[in-house]
Amino acid sequence: MQKVRLIIREIFSGGFITIVVLLSISFSTILLGVFLVIRDTINKNVISQMENSIPPNTIKVSPKKGNGSLLKFIFKHAPGEILSEETLKEFGKFPGVKKIYPVQASHIPMQAVISIFGLTYRTDLICVGVAYDFLDQDIKKRIRKNIWDNWKNSQELPVLIPLFFLEAYNNSMAEPNGLPTITQDMAINREVQIVFGKSSIKTMEGATTEKARVIGFTDKIRSMALVIPLKAVKYYNEKFKGKSSGDEYMNFFIEVKDHSALLSIVKKISGKGFIVETDKSLSREIILLKNRVQAIIYVLSMIVLLLAIIAVSFSILIASLQKIEYYRILRILGASRLFISFIVFLKFSFIGFIGAFAGVKVLEFFSLNFTPSLKIGTWNIGIVFENKNYSLFLSGSIFLSIIATIPSLGTLFTKRMDTD
């Protein structure tokens, strides 16, 4: 009980120099807090915005072309030759994969019949089937996602035309044949007849004509095929070529979480023998830049922390040396080094807590009253005070005070306390 009284007396002693220590801890807390906010602002606005403004490329995966190797005799297909439902599930489990859009090509003869400028054109073509989400931004005439993804036989077929298809017509076909060029506005909402199971060369039994409508243009698939719902392609492939035909894909377009995920996913897929197309070098540059910026921020935060520790250490050292005679008397009268260390630690931990609390309150006051409108360009640099910051700042500052007390204890014990 008596020792507790001594401890309490110690905590509240010191006068002016204790106030100096308190202020130095408060100031350090504010400085660290402001720096953490700047760090978060840079992380949030600079790094994330930079990363988001250059989104990681979608990875295009294609099956390897068969070359008649020995493996083909042993297995049905060599590794990397088939993009199947199974492969789709396997890739979906890779860390960093956000979504996979499978693309299926039609494996049957097809024709399109288009009526334009009073003339009817009939042309052989191929179609690819894709999910709605992959084309979302290219769809001009809005239709419900459900209509695209759950297309049913005999429903009107929504169609997207590849942009090169339009350009090829305008540049190579319209002028030589004396026809007018076609703009996107002219083509949109135009009706098209698509014949499944029939081309100028071959007609299959059960060939069907579907009524289709142009609802947009796309260059995402990077081919000269018409883009229609995946379900429609699967339906006609299975109808004319058998069940297994509906499980084989032409490409996967894999959307990845970020640039670092892109690099690891590309490595994994390439390792499985598939052909991968992406702009890896861009991701590599972005990751490198991000790591450099974060390393600089880390070094700067360490310097700020070190400066704060030095500043607080000096003030605690001065405060401790001012009380050296008191500690000497305690030592002579029988206080152990352990007890004196304990009361000194406790004192400065308590001061650290009060100082940090004051610092946090100052930061909170500024965050509520002054900084919400602070902006650099479009970036809000205001101090955002979250609940987790209280415990972080308080515990951090108490820890800082304890660390900063060590040099003064070292000085007290090694040189001064036991001798005159």
């Binding site: 009980m1 030592r331 009268l333 206080a335 036991d418």
Partner: protein, 226 residues
């Protein structure tokens, strides 16, 4: 009661080894006053610190009531100081901004326990040393003689067997010094020993043994009352 055997202590200063104490052996019995004199820097305070367990000797052994003093853990010599020794200094070493009562009770506060007996003893001690009326006064307002009496009260509060006094009369006028000297003699008669560092001839006359510390060695007995 206290026995020093072949105590040596040296310090390193500027790359040189300074031998402060050389092979010092000494014995103090209950009821004795042992005085040590010597020039400034002769090593008197170092010897006092070694006895108090504040400084570890390079070699040699110290026995207190036939038990060897151990320096292995700081807590052991600290407890030894708190329970067995009383200290009086030339500069008083009191907490100037604290009350007389707090200063006197400080060794008991450090020990962690103050009972009713302790409080009664403190009262009788303060009355005996004519300090009871000043018990709530700050030490800083007291005269030199009163401060030294407070120091004596603090040294006696835990009823120690050995009092270590480092030039207790040096800062006092001759009259007050004589009073303090009388107090020391009184204390030694209360079944406790006094180890005194002093230059006062008056105190030599009341000492059982007087040693001069010269070149790190305790040289002969000069003056002795018995």
């Amino acid at each position: 009661m206290l026995k020093l055997e072949s105590i040596s202590k040296s310090y390193k200063a500027g790359g040189l080894k300074l031998q402060v104490l050389k092979d010092i052996s000494l014995e103090i019995k209950r009821g004795e006053i042992i005085s040590i004199t010597g020039k400034s820097g002769a090593g008197k305070t170092t010897l006092l610190n070694i006895i108090a367990g504040l400084t570890k000797p390079d070699s040699g052994r110290i026995y207190f009531n036939n038990k060897r003093l151990c320096y292995f853990l700081d807590i052991i010599p600290s407890r030894f100081r708190n329970q067995n020794l009383g200290f009086v200094f030339q500069t008083f070493r009191l907490l100037q901004n604290e009350s007389v009562y707090f200063n006197v009770m400080l060794p008991l506060i450090i020990s962690g326990w103050i009972g009713k007996k302790n409080k009664d003893f403190a009262k009788s001690l303060l009355k005996r040393l004519e300090l009871w009326d000043y018990r709530d006064s700050k030490v800083s307002i007291l005269s030199g003689g009163q401060k030294q009496r407070v120091a004596f009260a603090r040294a006696l509060i835990n009823n120690p067997e050995l009092i270590l006094a480092d030039e207790p009369t040096a800062n006092l006028d001759s009259e007050t010094a004589k009073e303090v000297g009388k107090l020391l003699i009184e204390i030694s008669k209360e079944d406790r020993a006094v180890f005194l560092v002093t230059h006062q001839e008056y105190l030599f006359r009341h000492s059982h043994k007087v040693y001069e510390l010269k070149n790190g060695v305790l040289e002969g007995k000069r003056l002795c009352r018995r």
